[in-house]
């Protein structure tokens, strides 16, 4: 049977089976994004701290997690942690692995955003009697968000695409369902192309949003 005949005959069935994996893809994306957003900010603040003792671990963390493949990190967590007596579920391992990986990238986005705010802003807040923490919370970060939003959206796109690797530790997301379906029906071409289209339906709109944010930022500046 040709590609189109298979698509015509089995397309809806395949789509239904594939979409069963979508909630897991979305859940791992959202959870690891949240993890990376929170932990990345923490790392960025350490990285920007005036104390060397805090900066060094942050720099080491960023360099190491940006210098190694996300797949290896997820494997260390899923297959490695049981060696020290802790067995995470596939989903936990995926979220923590992608989250730790993403936090390293996000912390650099946070840092660039914070450093782009003029130093006078911090000095003015301090001279008004704010503590450094309050100044960061109420003066610096709200302004920095504007510069950070476009690169963060791009980061989110990369993260969404990275969730396609976590079937390797057994999360039953899109890609994992696709592989099962291929084992059952041997229709690799149709199934994997359909998976590709599903990913494109998510990533292309996100890329549009990122481009629009980028333009509005330029207009604002």
């Amino acid at each position: 049977m040709s590609f189109l005949e298979v698509l015509n005959a089995k397309g809806w069935y395949f789509l239904g089976r594939l979409l069963e994996g979508l909630p897991w893809t979305v859940a791992s994306f959202v959870c690891s994004l949240a993890f990376a957003l929170v932990f990345g900010l923490f790392v960025a603040l350490l990285r920007l701290s005036p104390w060397r003792l805090l900066r060094i671990p942050a720099v080491t963390y960023i360099e190491f997690f940006r210098g190694t493949p996300a797949l290896v990190q997820v494997f260390v967590i899923y297959f490695g942690l049981p060696d020290i007596g802790f067995q995470p579920s596939p989903f936990q391992a995926a979220v923590v692995g992608l989250g730790l990986n993403g936090a390293a990238y996000l912390s650099e986005i946070y840092r660039a955003g914070i450093e782009a705010i003029h130093r006078g802003q911090m000095e003015a807040s301090l001279s008004l009697g704010m503590t450094p923490a309050r100044a960061m919370r109420y003066i610096i970060l709200p302004q920095a968000i504007r510069t950070m939003l476009p690169p963060m959206t791009n980061f989110a796109i990369v993260l969404l695409k990275d969730t396609a690797i976590i079937f390797a530790v057994g999360v039953s997301e899109l890609m994992s369902n696709a592989r099962e379906l291929v084992t059952e029906t041997l229709q690799s071409a149709v199934v994997y192309v359909m998976v590709g289209v599903i990913y494109l339906c998510m990533t292309i709109p996100m890329a549009r949003i990122a481009a629009r944010l980028e333009r509005s930022k330029q207009a604002w500046q």
């Binding site: 210098g67 190694t68 493949p69 797949l71 890609m175 041997l186 229709q187 994997y192």
Partner: protein
């Protein structure tokens, strides 16, 4: 409690030579797919910046699709789909070829955008001056625009290369013989996943960190001239 030093003391003489051997495969995949990505990227960057609507549209469609797909999905489509669509003798289509073509398709889209921004960053006067001097558009592109654009795009191309090196780990998912694939087989054969995967992470880091230092050096040098 896991005693990493004693595990390494026991196994490293077996693990390290084997892993380093498969590093060569990782580097080979990186090198060949880099060349392929540069060729594809250059082609679509030229299409994207051309005057012809049709070429522009083709380039935009290619870039959007190849950038929007996860690399794993590209690898799976490239490696598993063709033999199914056109049945026949596919023994020559090795995992290495699948890996290289898949990464090349993805990298081509990334580099097309990088090259385009490099070409567009040059002042239009450069091209106009070249045309005024009697060069054909192709000659102006070849001898005036591209050599200057190459200089501008060096740091982002470097960053792409670092990403590519790490992305080769994904080729293990289609069974390509490279570092990560070998690490998996050692880890589960010797029941030492933690020790092996941490070692492999260190090896990837040892390969990517010098590259990222090089990129930082280039970025620092380039910002001096501005």
């Amino acid at each position: 409690m896991l005693q990493l030093p004693s595990i390494y003391a026991e196994y490293i003489h077996r693990w390290l030579p084997e892993l380093l051997y498969y590093c060569l495969a990782t580097l080979a995949i990186t090198g060949v797919s880099f060349i392929l990505a540069v060729a594809i990227g250059l082609f679509f960057a030229l299409c994207r910046t051309s005057r012809y609507r049709l070429l522009q549209t083709i380039a935009i469609v290619y870039i959007e699709i190849a950038r929007g797909l996860p690399i794993v999905v590209i690898l799976y489509i490239v490696y598993f789909a063709p033999p199914q669509i056109w049945p026949g003798d596919w023994k020559w289509f090795t995992t290495f070829l699948g890996a290289v073509i898949g990464l090349g398709i993805h990298g081509g889209a990334i580099l097309a955008e990088v090259f385009r921004s490099g070409i567009e960053a040059l002042h239009k006067g450069q091209r106009e001056a070249a045309l005024t001097l009697g060069m054909t558009p192709a000659k102006a592109m070849m001898y005036i625009i591209l050599p200057q654009a190459m200089r501008i795009v060096l740091p982002p191309v470097g960053n792409y290369t670092i990403g590519l090196l790490k992305d080769t780990a994904l080729c293990s998912l289609i069974g390509a013989n490279e570092l990560m694939n070998d690490a998996k087989s050692i880890a589960f054969a010797d029941y030492q996943p933690m020790a092996v995967f941490v070692l492999v992470a260190a090896i990837y880091f040892a390969m990517s960190y010098p590259l990222s230092l090089g990129v930082r050096y280039m970025e620092a040098r380039m910002s001096v001239g501005r």
